[in-house]
């Protein structure tokens, strides 16, 4: 068994490399001759993303001196896992575009390069919406740059609402009564995703926040949010099947007109534009507070990389309006920057405009390294209540214990 020793040796070397990279500010790495090849990981595997991505990379290679990009993309659920495995095997990229919720796991792991000093010198932090920007701050350090942002809102089938004589709801009470009035036959009033993954939690957290709570007060406010959804199911306005639906499934329900309203994000707009019926988007109904959950991606640099300065040049370049706007437009995504609010397709498209107007209310899921366990506890509680196997207060109590343990363990 000589392997563990070898492995430790390797870790010592890579640890030293990480430390050097962290101190890379003072050392100069940019005066190397010849082009630097940066490896780049993301999860944009779908065909419709490729032209925009390829153009961005071509742009970067033309605009940033001496840089070549070697891109690899993984399926969405694989990227974070691949980065973790890379940490073990030593095969990590120089930069990556990761889901904003990954900042919890990756941020607490010393895997990401500290960009604080570079960002301070850059001086554009105030141009970003507060939610996305604060989501990149971990333990007082800037570990990422928001690439694009999204959030959740309520889509309504215009004709169905009109024929039922219902206005788009703005409060929980209105949502409940609208959903009930819109339910008929095999059509449900509302569709949302309560699947047992981060996707379901992404959709649930707004309810918790709107009730006035947060993860650390789940015992108190969790039952309110859970009971509200439970009531929707009990009245038949929401299908119990939602515990198995992804957000894609939810959108399919809405597209097939088997749900009159749905909670979903702006990435569904291109699909919905092809629908044969009229729809509109409104802000998520509020209870004590108005809130929505922040989604989107962040740029991160790996601390183990040898070219953090070059990576920073690339990141800075991508944030220039002339590069960022066409890229975001081609991806159908929203900017995380306030100064871009009046440019690009989102300035004119009413649906995108609505989502953009909600970004200031969007909260990042920023709960530390053990968020995954808290998130799982929330998902389990929601599933237990919606499938009728536990009461809202009992489920919230069980979950609160696990959440407190996960969040307390930093």
């Amino acid at each position: 068994m000589s392997y563990p020793v070898d492995r430790r040796g390797f870790l010592r070397v890579s640890g030293a490399a990480a430390a050097t990279a962290a101190l890379g500010l003072t050392s100069c790495t940019s005066d190397t001759s010849g082009p630097v090849t940066l490896s780049w990981w993301d999860y944009f595997t779908l065909d419709n993303f490729q032209p925009g991505m390829n153009r961005l990379i071509k742009d970067i290679e033309a605009g940033v001196p001496d840089v070549r990009i070697e891109r690899r993309s993984f399926p969405f659920a694989e990227l974070e896992r691949q980065i973790t495995l890379g940490a073990i095997s030593g095969d990590l990229p120089d930069l990556a575009i990761v889901d904003n919720v990954s900042m919890n796991t990756l941020g607490g792991s010393r895997l990401l390069a500290d960009l604080t000093a570079r960002v301070e010198k850059w001086g554009q932090a105030d141009e970003y919406y507060q939610g996305p920007w604060s989501g990149c701050q971990v333990g007082g350090k800037t570990l990422g740059i928001p690439n694009n942002s999204n959030c959740l809102a309520l889509y309504c089938n215009t004709r169905m609402l009109k024929s039922a004589g219902v206005e788009p709801p703005t409060t929980w009470d209105e949502l409940a009564s609208a959903a009930q009035k819109l339910t008929s036959g095999d059509r449900y009033g509302l569709a949302l995703s309560a699947i047992r993954t981060e996707e379901g939690v992404f959709q649930f957290l707004p309810f918790l926040w709107q009730a006035g709570g947060d993860l650390d007060t789940f015992r108190t406010y969790g039952p309110t949010a859970l009971a509200f959804l439970d009531e929707l199911i009990a009245k038949g306005s929401l299908s119990e099947q939602c515990v198995g639906w992804t957000q894609q499934d939810v959108n399919t329900r809405f597209l097939n007109q088997r749900a009159a309203m749905q909670i979903n994000g702006p990435w569904q707009i291109p699909t919905l534009k092809k629908a044969a019926f009229d729809w509109n988007v409104v802000a998520l109904p509020r209870d004590k507070e108005a809130a929505t959950c922040l989604g989107g991606e962040n740029w991160v640099a790996m601390a183990s990389g040898k070219h953090v300065d070059k990576v920073w040049e690339v990141l800075e370049y991508t944030q220039r309006p002339s590069v960022l706007v066409p890229y975001l437009v081609s991806f159908g995504e929203l900017p995380a920057r306030k100064d871009l609010a009046d440019r690009g397709s989102w300035a004119s498209d009413p649906a995108l405009r609505l989502f953009l107007s909600q970004l200031p209310l969007a909260r990042p899921r920023q709960y530390g390294a053990h968020y995954a366990e808290a998130s799982q506890a929330v998902a389990d509680a929601e599933q237990a209540v919606l499938t009728g196997s536990a009461s809202p207060s009992a489920a919230a109590g069980t979950a609160a214990g696990k959440i407190d343990k996960a969040l307390g363990e930093q």
């Binding site: 430790r8 870790l11 792991s109 198995g244 799982q376 599933q383 237990a384 499938t387």
Partner: protein, 306 residues
């Protein structure tokens, strides 16, 4: 020492040489990962420590943490239920089908090969198929129930915690039956037809022949089939992962899914390794028992009919 090696010693040395590639393969792809897993299971390893190289030896702490986690024991129970239910059903149905296919009938060969398709399909495909067929709203089974006027029986199979396990077992039985059938069929063919003839002449009816001839003679094959089934079923992952992802809540989170979750969702590598090794216990015990039994049988070659 300087004596030239005897012929037999030289032979055995060549023998070891021939074994070398195999041994090297086993060492690299079996022993190393396994030992590495053991090493991880007694260290405090999570994502933060991977880069810093500061894994702390923590003895049995990981095992204690796993054993103290009610979710672990819940998943052990689920794994046992899943395995037991799958084995009993797969074996019974497989045996019945083997008896059917043991006698030639028109198109029997074709039907038999068609049945094998279920076993040949990748579990991800069969899982997706069953997920769709058992769907509450647009599933084939519910549509079937409605079509024959039994809509009272239609149900949200996979999203109701009380039936999701049954749904997953159902799919796994469908996958496993052809495998059981095939091996048992081979076993049936090894039984000398003259035995049946002789028994029939002695006046044994069909049931008696099955009970006192077929069953005892099939015992060695059955044990093998059940053991292989146990190994396959206990470590099931893909089928359940695709069908329910362990949900709703934790109704189908079998042991392998629990280990996966600790590893790749929570990134607690130490605890995951410990739980993974505990996952090995049941198949290992079953395997050891089987090997011992096999040795006994070789020593006493009387066969099944004792």
């Amino acid at each position: 020492m300087r004596q030239p090696l005897s012929l037999s010693a030289r032979r055995s040395r060549t023998g070891y040489l021939f074994c070398l590639p195999g041994l090297a393969f086993l060492a690299l792809f079996l022993a190393y990962p396994l030992l590495y897993n053991v090493w991880t299971s007694v260290h405090d390893v999570d994502l933060g420590q991977l880069l810093g190289g500061a894994e702390r030896f923590n003895g049995l702490d990981n095992y204690r943490a796993v054993a103290g986690d009610p979710a672990f024991w819940h998943s052990v129970r689920l794994s046992l239920v899943f395995t037991l239910a799958s084995l009993v059903l797969q074996f019974t149905i497989g045996f019945a089908l083997a008896l059917l296919f043991a006698r030639p009938f028109p198109l029997g060969g074709l039907l038999r090969s068609l049945l094998l398709v279920a076993w040949l399909l990748p579990p991800v495909v069969s899982g997706t198929l069953f997920r769709w067929m058992l769907d509450g709203e647009s599933g084939a089974y519910n549509a079937l129930f409605q079509a024959v006027g039994l809509s009272a029986l239609s149900h949200d199979w996979l999203t109701d915690p009380s039936t999701s396990m049954a749904g997953v077992v159902f799919a796994n039985v469908w996958v496993g039956v052809p495998f059981n059938m095939l091996l048992l069929l081979v076993g049936l063919h090894t039984i000398d037809p003259e035995l049946h003839e002789a028994a029939a002449i002695d006046g044994a009816n069909a049931w008696q022949r099955f009970r006192h001839l077929t069953l005892p003679l099939m015992r060695p094959v059955s044990v093998t089939v059940l053991l292989l089934g146990l190994l396959y079923t206990f470590k099931v992952f893909d089928l359940v992962f695709v069908m329910t992802g362990g949900g709703p809540v934790d109704a189908t989170r079998v042991l392998s899914l629990y280990v996966y979750e600790v590893f790749f969702t929570f990134f607690r590598f130490g605890q995951g390794a410990a739980a993974g090794l505990l996952l090995l216990v049941v198949p290992l015990l079953a395997g050891a028992w089987y090997v011992r039994r096999l040795r006994h049988e070789e020593e006493a070659p009387a066969g099944g009919a004792r």
